[in-house]
């Protein structure tokens, strides 16, 4: 069953500037060993999110030397094409189609949206690395809502 | 598929069936009732089963009926809402069922008795104490009635076998009995319709097509039909 968590869909900018989301993204970045990330919003603005110092990474058990170097380039969203509830993993499978940190190719399915008895895919628009998921399992997402952040391949 | 086939060719050695005068009505799963007539396997009982089949097949909840040997399987379109009610109605219908004599056609089947396909003839002779000629004669002189079709497409269970040539089915079935083999199983006889494992005893061979899927009806025989075997050749 879907979790009935209240979730508002909104623009990427609005989502980015939400303190809770910022904090969450920072956590993911830390988890991925990434120091900062720049996100291009739909109105062309660049939002840079910088995580704590190296010390914070060490505290989190992440070796800063091993942290992937992140060039200051933009991150692309993978969006839902329809309103429904986010399914990170296909209900008949044990694992996600693509894990955070994995490379994805254009059109690859990275997650799902459940609409009653049906399921719609969320796809990567271009090749890159799946960096973060911006919504929780079972959350209500809308048309055009960003669900994943993908760092494009060079 | 072979493993599941042996059981269908039954000889009523020990028969667990209904009590003296009440039919036994039971469900198989959620969508079928089996009505088993009381008493012996005889034509009057079988005719009453046919009458029951005839009465029930047009009930709106019934998808198909399958007459067996003194029994009737009633397959429903869906799981009944009130299974007890349906049980009672079937019982009542049996009470009302009177013998009907299906005005069947007469089918004459040319048979080559003996020969390569009559691998069990010797065993029947041993069991009955009759000569092979006697066995063959008693078989083709018989006047048979199709009791039911089943076990394989178009296979008819024939009633009317001379008790002198009753022969229990084999404990070890033949692995590849040819389609068209004329066989005896217990108190019944028939012509096999598929090539494959078979526990009945072979005494001859018939060329006649018993089943053609594209024909209407696809099966040559129907319950109530009369069957005569005509000895075309006897190779002993």
């Amino acid at each position: 069953m879907m979790k009935g968590r209240k979730r508002k869909s909104g623009s990427l900018t609005a989502q980015m500037l939400d303190p809770a989301t910022l904090e969450q993204i920072a956590l993911w970045l830390e988890g991925a060993g990434v120091a900062s990330i720049e996100i291009e919003t739909e109105d062309g603005r660049l939002v840079r999110i910088v995580t704590g110092e190296d010390a914070a990474l060490r505290d989190a058990g992440v070796d800063p030397v091993a942290a992937a170097p992140v060039e200051p380039h933009s991150v692309r969203p993978a969006k839902s094409q329809i309103a429904g509830h986010f399914l990170p993993v296909h209900p008949a499978r044990d694992a996600a189609e693509a894990a955070i940190g994995a490379s994805v190719f254009p059109e690859q399915i990275v997650g799902f949206v459940g609409i009653g008895p049906l399921i719609m895919p969320i796809r990567a628009e271009e090749a890159g690395t799946l960096r973060a998921c911006t919504v929780g399992p079972g959350d209500l997402v809308g048309y055009g809502d960003t669900v994943f952040l993908i760092e494009p391949a060079q | 598929m072979s493993v599941m086939q042996g059981n269908v060719l039954s000889t009523p050695a020990i028969v667990a069936t209904a009590t003296a005068d009440e039919p036994k009505i039971s469900m198989i799963g959620t969508g079928a009732y089996l009505i088993e007539a009381p008493g012996a396997f005889d034509l009057p009982t079988q005719r009453r089963i046919w009458a029951l089949a005839h009465a029930v097949e047009d009930w709106p909840e019934v998808r198909e009926v399958v007459p067996g040997v003194t029994n009737l399987l009633v397959i429903l379109k869906q799981t009944p809402e009130e299974p007890e009610q349906l049980h009672l109605r079937l019982g009542h219908e049996w009470d009302c069922a009177r013998s009907i004599d299906l005005s069947g056609k007469t089918v004459e089947i040319p048979v080559t008795y003996g020969g390569d396909n009559a691998t069990d003839l010797a065993a029947i002779c041993d069991y009955s104490g009759l000569s092979d000629r006697e066995v063959v004669r008693l078989h083709w002189q018989g006047d048979y009635t199709v009791v039911a079709l089943g076990s394989a497409p178009g296979f008819g269970y024939l009633h009317g076998l001379d008790p002198r040539i009753y022969m229990p089915r084999k404990t070890v079935p033949s692995l590849r009995m040819l389609k068209g083999t004329v066989t005896i199983g217990g108190m019944q006889t028939g012509v096999s319709v598929l090539t494959g494992p078979n526990g009945w005893n072979s005494i001859g061979f018939a060329e006649m097509q018993m089943f053609e899927p594209t024909k209407t009806p696809p099966a040559l025989l129907a319950p109530g039909d009369r069957v005569r075997f005509r000895p075309e050749r006897i190779e002993l």
């Binding site: 008949a92 609409i115 399921i119 | 599941m4 998808r63 399958v66 040997v69 079709l149 076990s151 594209t214």
Partner: protein, 332 residues
Amino acid sequence: MIEVLQTGPLNTVQDLGRFGFRNAGVTSSGAMDRLALMVGNLLVGNAEGEAALEIQTFPFRLRFERDMAVAVTGADCEARLDGRRLPPWWAMPVLSGQVLELDTPRRAARAYLCLAGGIEVEPVMGSRSTSLRGGFGGLEGRFLAANDRLPVAGAAGPAVPQGGFGVMPPETALAAHFPAPEDGTLLVRAVPAGEYALFGAEAERFWTQTWKISSHSDRTGYRLSGEPIRLASPVELRSHGVVPGVVQMPPSGEPIIQMSDANTAGGYPKMAGVIDVDLWRLGQARIGSRIRFVRSSIAEAREAERAVRAYLDDVRCTVPMLAQALAAMSRR
């Protein structure tokens, strides 16, 4: 047309089965997992009973010879379209020349490939199901072989959305209406049948023990292995009609469950009948896997049937909605 490039044995064309000829000894045949077939058909806009391919031996590869919409349901075979991995229970448009590959599933036994319009082999006695035993129906009454080409009818329903879409698998969507497996043992609901009482106290073991599906199992029936349950003296019945789901007890004492290609007649004592609505789950049980019978009732069966019906209706109603919504969104 579709062309089979690679296949194992025993993969056949199946629909919901052939009815009305059991009294002539003709088995009903039809998909082992009828629910997967129905859902697959609904996804591509077909009536729920159109003919599809039942794939139970792998690997299986096939090429589409024209653009069409297809759905793969049932067991998760890690399907790949031109090498690109597809989620299970998935429908999508395919292009002429594209190749679909299905690999041995890790769970479940059978996958269904439904095509918009349905496989257009000639119906025999009202059905396109293959009767392997009878040698008719489906593709010349036989199982598929490499280089076979099968005709596909024109699609009648709305177009399947470009990017593909899926359906909540019945196991998830209907979880509340089916008993969950216990330690990997499939729980199959059944009601006692005609000769149940003959087994007396022994019958209890039928429910309590775990049975293994033996390797002598196929579309005709599943032979189960376990601690035998025998009668004091063997009983044979007069030959009578049987249906899929009947659990027979041969003298060996190990049950046989008749499946889609069930014999039309039998004479072994009948211990129980699997409720119809649980047969699709049994159809996905693999050889070597374990099952346990759970005593059920007609009322419980009806309840589950209602839930399945509601699920199918929901899918039928929502699929065109999704297609229309996406079509309206892509029109400028």
